[in-house]
């Protein structure tokens, strides 16, 4: 596995030589610093901890300062472990967008936009109850029955109801790397990516 941490910038589109237009998302990925190397001998599994994003010195705790000092780097905003990293890296080295090539199929992990408290139609794809006419009203977005009658006499656990929606961790598979601007650390992947502009996303392969 190889991966990098990035920030969602926004969307645009790109033409291929035949004139086909593809929507794509611009992600500012890396450069990430390797802040910890975990090995099978010492930790039971092998992984690289990558860190991304600037954090002001005064906002970092002493523990963070000491942790990042080991990699001789300034405190970072976001850290993430990548298991069994395909490329050998030592602590303090950087990972850039060069680990990917144009045409690669990648996975993108992000946190979806928060939607607030939503009803069952939006949250679970229910269809509502009944019609608009024939003497009915106020039932278009209703959840319907919650369960059985006197046998059970309670609502089953896990019943789909209204509630807080969004801010889910979502992984999209099979996105194509359309273009890479290595000098600016931009990577363009096909299609949309979960989350708002400026949110942290992981690109893995």
């Amino acid at each position: 596995m190889k991966g990098i941490i990035g920030k969602k910038i926004g969307m645009t589109s790109i033409f291929d030589p035949t004139g086909k237009q593809t929507a794509c998302t611009i992600i500012e990925a890396g450069p990430c610093v390797v802040t910890q190397v975990k090995t099978k001998e010492s930790d039971g599994y092998s992984a690289l901890q990558l860190s991304f994003g600037e954090k002001k010195e005064k906002h970092a705790t002493q523990a963070e300062k000491n942790h990042f000092a080991k990699a001789s780097t300034a405190p970072k905003k976001f850290s993430k472990e990548f298991r069994d990293f395909a490329i050998e890296k030592n602590i303090g080295e950087t990972v850039t967008v060069d680990i990917f090539a144009e045409g690669d199929k990648v996975e993108v992990v992000g946190t979806t936009k928060g939607k607030g408290f939503q009803g069952v139609v939006k949250r679970h794809g229910f269809h509502g109850v009944g019609q608009q006419s024939h003497g009915q009203h106020d039932r278009q977005r209703a959840p319907g029955s919650l369960g059985n009658s006197s046998d059970a006499a309670r609502v089953m656990k896990g019943m789909k109801m209204a509630g807080r929606t969004g801010t889910d961790r979502v992984k999209l598979k099979g996105l194509k790397v359309v273009k890479i601007f290595a000098e600016k650390n931009y990577i363009l992947v096909s299609g949309s990516v979960p989350g708002h502009i400026g949110s942290i996303v992981l690109i893995q392969k």
Partner: protein, 124 residues
């Protein structure tokens, strides 16, 4: 938005088009592929809108073909656009000419904007 502008600048090839806006009459020459042959087809009509910025900017051209209104949307930076020819400059007061869709015949005509030099010539 700076990042998007940078990407657009990198993607945008050097293409020179005449300056035109909504109301102008233009001819768009674009490539089409038939089987494995490539040829150039032209679409002549009035521009009814321009939209977008940078690499994703596009415009819509409307013409009346056999009494039926036909609209086609062209992206500026599509590699299929061969050339654009500006035929006439229109005298319109709006940036989007969607009202043209409801009109037909004489009222659908767009008055030509006469340039100052041309105006003095006709005055003689």
């Amino acid at each position: 938005m700076n990042a998007i502008a940078y990407v657009h600048e990198q993607l945008t090839g050097k293409k020179e088009f005449p300056k035109f806006k909504a109301g102008d009459n233009i001819t768009v020459n674009y490539k089409i592929i038939e089987g494995n042959k490539e040829r150039i087809q032209s679409f002549k009509g009035d521009v009814i809108k321009r939209q977008g910025t940078g690499h994703t900017a596009c415009f819509t051209v409307r013409k009346i073909s056999d009494g039926v209104g036909v609209e086609r949307l062209f992206p500026f930076f599509s590699p299929n656009i061969e050339s654009i020819v500006l035929n006439k400059t229109g005298n319109v007061r709006r940036a989007k000419l969607f009202y043209q869709r409801k009109r037909s015949g004489k009222s659908a005509r767009i008055r030509e904007k006469r340039m100052a030099v041309v105006a003095t010539d006709t005055a003689k």
